[in-house]
Symmetry: C2
Subunit: 377 residues, 2 copies
Amino acid sequence: MVTISDVAKLAGVSLVTVSRVINNADYVSDKTRSNVKKAIAELGYIPSAMARGMRLNRTFTFALILPDITNSFWTTVARGVEDVAQIQDYSILFYNVDEDQKKQKRALETVFSQQVDGVMIAPHDGVTENLKLLHQRKVPTVILDRKLDQDIADWKFDFVRGDSISGAKALTEHLIKLGHRKIAILSGDVRTSTAKDRVSGYRMALEGMGIPYDPELVFFGEYRISAGEKLLRALLDKEIEFSAIFAANNAIGLGVVQELLHRNIRIPDDVAVVYYDDSSKDGTYFPFFTSIQQYAYEIGKTAAELLISRINDRELPSREITLPSKLIVRYSCGAYQKATNRPGLRLPIMDGAELYEESHLIEPFLNGDIREPYANF
Amino acid sequence: MVTISDVAKLAGVSLVTVSRVINNADYVSDKTRSNVKKAIAELGYIPSAMARGMRLNRTFTFALILPDITNSFWTTVARGVEDVAQIQDYSILFYNVDEDQKKQKRALETVFSQQVDGVMIAPHDGVTENLKLLHQRKVPTVILDRKLDQDIADWKFDFVRGDSISGAKALTEHLIKLGHRKIAILSGDVRTSTAKDRVSGYRMALEGMGIPYDPELVFFGEYRISAGEKLLRALLDKEIEFSAIFAANNAIGLGVVQELLHRNIRIPDDVAVVYYDDSSKDGTYFPFFTSIQQYAYEIGKTAAELLISRINDRELPSREITLPSKLIVRYSCGAYQKATNRPGLRLPIMDGAELYEESHLIEPFLNGDIREPYANF
DNA sequence: TTGTATGCGTTATCAC
DNA sequence: GTGATAACGCATACAA
């Protein structure tokens, strides 16, 4: 391995001078500088980030800890993070933790040992010991898309999330307007704030429109395909009446659809399905269902920006940013005309499968700093 | 920050002894050991990976350099990599490079400076200077899903990829069997081997069935949505006859579909569409189109296993693994019955959008080590 | 404008 | 069984 001393030797200067050239600090004569640069090029010298990190106590690396890199919502968040990181010359240590307590813990331990400059995490539950460690060790931290239970006013964490409450409210209201009264909601892990908030929004919509909230129709599980299948089975096993299903994320939605297909239950003839987290910018994923689309890319981008600003100034007050969501309404040809009596965008994908699509930005329900979505999304 | 000396002080031993306890090496008396462990717990000591890395010349980290984390194919590959990494206690430095030469170069430079133990990369083109550096610096490297142009027999790189040639051949043969004779293929960047191989497979299918290969119907561009749109426009601008489109990956497919919708061209009434890289295990992504599904998770998993084995033994001969693909045939209700005169799986998603789906493992065309897909996929 | 000396936190080597 | 010391590659305080 070629080190700074090798360069120094070749250039006939001391290694301090080389260091100065690299960090273009202090005074170095033009001649020395060019000599050193030549030597660097000749040897293909690349400074060791490790040695540098040790000396500076700064690694220009942060950790990104996500529940599931296979889920397009998180993928898009990651993309937002990556784009900012690259511009600012940060590297990303990536960890997939599957909403698994143990994996999250192990990821965080690794992260501590790696001495990253900051952490972005979608925590599994409200507050864990691990999160507390982030606070105690004063690691700059951004909480992605979720809330913490515990009062942590002094923790100096930053938060970026979608507006789950209004999103779920809008989605539920859409179903109610279509005439549904018995709406089942299949949500994620009850410990995640989004799973709870989406149920809250659902409840607000019902009660706001004079429909009683029935706990029998509310299910918590996990944000994964298998959970969607399982929750649907649980719902069917109860043998209670319902005409629509609200899947609290895309994975649950997939599970629901699969299980419905498996049982030969038709959508939307027998049951309507809507879901949260339509992360496709393109609308061809899950093309039949009305859904909530979050500004996932913006969530990632904003989070990375917050993190970097905090790394540069740890005394910043805690910031909390909530981004709005979008309701994507999709009807079949006939249903749309019946409901609205006007034409929409026609998606002639295949015989009889025409589709109308409309998109509505949702009014924020939450107080606080609701940022406008960026124009470039 | 609490260091090994802090622990030593508290435990009343030298830091060497603490190191021994941590790495459970050598002889340490049970009493000392438990004292040290207590001190570690009390202080919440976590060893510094950086210092450790410097001393050992080993970071237990590898780099994963992918074209697009937003694409479900790469996402699934990444997931396979992550799962193995986690089990083997490796961290992953992740870089998104967008098939962009400059970004790839910068990622690799960062990677060198980080002194990762190994690199997994889907290289942008056949051979770049950067890749050569990986060889020269003897960084254990796995090339993901692509081939290199240049002869690199002595480079000791490992390779894991899908069987693009047979996949494309099978997909094209499917179209030919449906009666298509003029099939346009919209492929990726001409410098990526997959873009070329998919065209080769396409050509083999045509010529194998006595249909002349027409270069006018062959387009290279990029593996992204915008390129799909652009290539389709280029195709239409030529005003030549065609009845089917072969999109060489899912992103191009999305672009094609969007542009077709935009122009009110119906699928499959006016033109048939098939595509490569249906990475959804669930079949609800892009549900209308016949497609090739690769064993993306296995590609990632295998790659990580190869990398780790090479890290542990750099003298291993270069290995090349090609995983087969699967042809997912999807018909509309009517088309299926017409074509096969038998029933399939009915997907009653919505009025009139019934769908039949069948899946066929593709016989490998390539010689060499073709591994069976794992059962757990 | 340049160089010398020191230390970041760890582990390998050798000595006791 | 345990400890002193050197070394990994770099950047800084200080000296020249």
